[in-house]
């Protein structure tokens, strides 16, 4: 009944005569737009793959899609969809110029599972176990299976790793290396040395053409603040090392990935001005990142400190560990619903530099939506639908 009225309203609101036709209208008891606004009883209209209107009221009318809640599509900056042995470039520990595009397998079933868990956008790097792993891309988790079609930002961040991961699986700690595998660090100290050498080499390359090396521009762009340094650091000592590195080289922007113990030394973290992506919550607190310990109130404490926080499920799509549940767990640790929502939508979008495209339900942004059976992130709710670029890509019927 209301639908024709609503549609005519939408059409009259359309900004230009060239506006694409409204293709999909979804109403909900609650529309969480993730920018702080909550519409109790609202309708979202989609046209041309973008959000065309968000209006209060409306049960959508007969035959229209009506759900309990709508949130923006969730965003995971650390999905860790790796392709097994292909995820580490063994030739060197520092590979700043490598791009993510060629390292992905879009036919991996994990993409569909992620999408069905409500994650519509992820950030992926070429390699996570290298000290410097190259430039990441931000891609959609669904749509056409071509990397160009799914990419919304290429080279948005430089990927790096501190701690045990970058040193794992390398040359033996004693005896001579038996293979060519030349990634050298086998200790945290070695990893830190490799980081600092890479940045010092970059400073030299910026001054002296003759000292330029493969991928130096990617490193220089981080020093110049054109893109953030997105570096894994889970344990207290690694977070400390990363913060010192940021200060030593004056890196304007750094995101600590998997920073489980980020609240241990709050002064250093605050002084460095780094943002944080937390690893998945673990029942006993011991996360998968170097076994670092993360209390469930970590996200809450970081927000109190004024540190931007994004949550990650590390690619899990299982009902008890997916990104929605991570938000729920963070709420159990003290976050309000809107804070938890922001930590899986707008904040990661901002940290990845794609907030103009995704992260909130706003007119003009990509129509990436999660449709919920009840209050988002509640253990009693589930994802009943996912909209990606205006298309219903998952429907739990």
């Amino acid at each position: 009944m209301l639908l024709p009225i609503l549609l005519s309203f939408l059409i009259s609101e359309a900004p230009a005569e060239t506006a694409p036709p409204v293709k999909l209208v979804i109403s909900a008891d609650a529309v969480y737009s993730a920018d702080g606004n909550l519409l109790e009883g609202g309708t979202v209209a989609i046209a041309g793959g973008k959000i065309a209107a968000v209006v209060p009221g409306g049960d959508g009318g007969e035959g229209a899609l009506h759900v309990a809640a709508i949130t923006p599509g969730l965003i995971d900056l650390s999905p860790r969809i790796h392709t097994g042995d292909y995820s580490v470039e063994e030739a060197s520990e520092v590979r700043p110029g490598d791009l993510a595009a060629g390292s992905l397998d879009l036919f991996d079933k994990r993409w569909e599972r992620l999408l069905e868990s409500g994650v519509t956008t992820v950030m992926v790097g070429p390699a996570y176990e290298n000290v410097i792993g190259g430039l990441s891309s931000v891609i959609k988790t669904g749509g056409k299976k071509r990397i160009e079609a799914r990419t919304i930002a290429e080279g948005n961040a430089l990927i790096g790793a501190f701690g045990g991961q970058a040193a794992r699986g390398n040359s033996p700690v004693f005896g001579r290396p038996t293979t060519f595998f030349a990634r050298r660090p086998t200790t945290r100290m070695g990893t830190e040395w490799a980081h600092r050498k890479a940045f010092y080499d970059t400073l030299a390359a910026m001054r002296d053409e003759e000292r330029q090396f493969e991928g130096w521009e990617a490193m220089a762009s981080v020093i110049e603040g054109e893109r953030p340094f997105f570096v894994q650091a889970g344990a207290t000592q690694d977070i400390r090392t990363a913060c010192y590195l940021k200060e030593e080289f004056g890196l304007p922007s750094m995101v600590l990935d998997g920073a489980a113990e980020a609240t241990r030394e709050p002064e250093i973290l605050k002084r460095a001005g780094a943002a944080v992506v937390l690893p998945p919550h673990a029942a006993q607190g011991r996360t998968a990142v170097d076994n670092a310990f993360m209390p469930w109130n970590t996200a809450d404490e970081l927000l109190e400190l004024g540190v931007p926080v994004a949550l990650s499920a590390h690619g899990s799509a299982s009902a008890n560990a997916n990104l929605g549940m991570q938000a729920g767990y963070a709420m159990r640790g003290g976050l309000e619903l809107d804070e938890a929502l922001r930590a899986v939508t707008l904040t990661p979008a901002e940290l990845a530099g794609v907030a103009d495209r995704v992260g909130t339900i706003e007119v003009g942004k990509d129509a990436d939506l999660v449709l919920w059976s009840g209050t988002p992130f509640a253990a009693t709710s589930r994802v009943i639908g996912v909209v990606l670029d205006g298309e219903v890509v998952f429907s739990a019927k």
């Binding site: 292909y86 470039e89 030739a91 060629g102 036919f107 070429p126 299976k145 071509r146």
Partner: protein
């Protein structure tokens, strides 16, 4: 007599470079020779779906001079023509879209980027592998140099009598196993892809990479998984390559895009365990108009070609398409469609006499002619 011989305009000089896709190559015929050999057969498999009963092929100067009904042709034969009558089938010699025939091993472990390798530096024209292939009815094949290198070398087109049809015809790329997962840089396909792009972009004018970019060489890109095909398309589009996707079991997802790109597919041999998905993929490629043909795996033999075509028919591919996949389309993909792959006037007289329908496994070659010369000592 000469009125029977269909003459085509001289089309020499039309090199592959000007052909963005795998169109039917024009056939070049010079001055017409006198026939010296006439082969009559109960069934002549002219090409694809065309079978002529009681046909005859006239051969002179190594070329096919005429194809017609035996009744029409034999009355006008000049004296001295050697007439062979075969109670069975006659077809064009089989063509492999790729192989390592005449090379002991194709991959070179010197380094990942080996565009300096060249077929002619390793081709053994007396290799037993050529003789064995010939005995199985294979007369021409693409040969690839450096199949397990990220950037391999320049390969060509050979005949199984040891002659070389095209010295430089293809360049190979491999961004999957085994090129990526070996004991050297690079170990990830992403890095390999970046390195390939960089090398193509910085290629010197006369280099193999520049020739591949200009379409003078076909680029054979090895794939295995769907992600590999996606990567191969990305690279081919990005660098503007005249690409043949080599390997992979299921291409249906990309059939339309392969057609749009003008790319071909060189398939790995089929086996009895080949599943419906792979057969459906062949049908999808066929429907989209993507030329596909079978190649010979490293260490494989030419028997796999006819087996693959026969299995393709069992999987629902039409006979003509299956036959083309081991003759006409294979010739197209290796850039030799103007010379081999069909029984047509002006093409090389590479012919096989079969005991029965060559798409039946029970049939076998009774005689093999290359350039009009019957190969000696072949036994089957």
């Amino acid at each position: 007599m000469k009125t029977l011989i269909q003459s085509l305009a001289l089309a020499g000089g039309l090199a592959a470079a000007t052909l963005p896709t795998f169109a039917n190559d024009p056939v070049a015929t010079e001055a017409l020779a006198e026939p010296t050999l006439a082969i009559a057969a109960s069934h002549v498999l002219v090409e694809g779906g065309v079978v002529m009963d009681d046909g005859m092929v006239l051969v002179g100067d190594g070329r096919i001079l005429a194809v017609g009904k035996a009744a029409d042709l034999e009355g006008n034969l000049p004296d001295g023509v050697n007439v062979v009558r075969h109670d069975g089938w006659l077809s064009a010699g089989l063509v492999a879209a790729n192989s390592t025939l005449g090379l002991r091993a194709s991959g070179d472990s010197t380094g990942p980027f080996m565009s300096g390798l060249h077929l002619m530096h390793g081709f053994d024209d007396e290799s037993k592998s050529l003789e064995r292939a010939r005995a199985l009815g294979l007369t021409a094949a693409g040969v690839e140099a450096g199949r397990s290198n990220v950037i391999g070398g320049v390969g060509g087109v050979i005949k199984t009598d040891g002659s070389v049809l095209r010295k430089s015809a293809n360049l190979t790329l491999c961004m999957t196993q085994p090129a990526v997962r070996t004991n050297r840089f690079p170990t990830t396909p992403g890095t390999a892809m970046g390195a390939v792009r960089k090398r193509f972009e910085g290629a010197a004018d006369s280099s193999a990479l520049a020739k591949a970019k200009a379409g003078q060489l076909t680029t054979s890109i090895a794939v295995n998984t769907l992600a590999d095909i996606e990567r191969a398309l990305y690279v081919a589009e990005d660098l503007g390559l005249r690409a043949v996707i080599r390997g992979g079991a299921d291409h249906s997802e990309f059939a339309t895009e392969l057609a749009e790109l003008g790319a071909g597919v060189a398939l790995s041999p089929l086996g009895l365990s080949t599943n419906a998905r792979a057969y459906n993929s062949l049908k999808a490629l066929s429907k989209a108009g993507v030329p596909f043909a079978f190649g010979i795996a490293d260490g494989g033999n030419a028997a796999s070609l006819r087996e693959s075509a026969a299995l393709a028919v069992s999987g629902g591919v039409d006979r003509a398409t299956a036959w083309n996949a081991i003759t006409t389309n294979a010739a197209k993909l290796i850039g030799a469609g103007d010379r081999v792959g069909r029984v047509a006037t002006g093409l090389d007289a590479d012919l096989v006499l079969w005991t029965g329908d060559p798409l039946l496994i029970a049939s076998s070659p009774a005689a093999v002619y290359i350039g009009g010369a019957k190969s000696q000592g072949d036994s089957h």
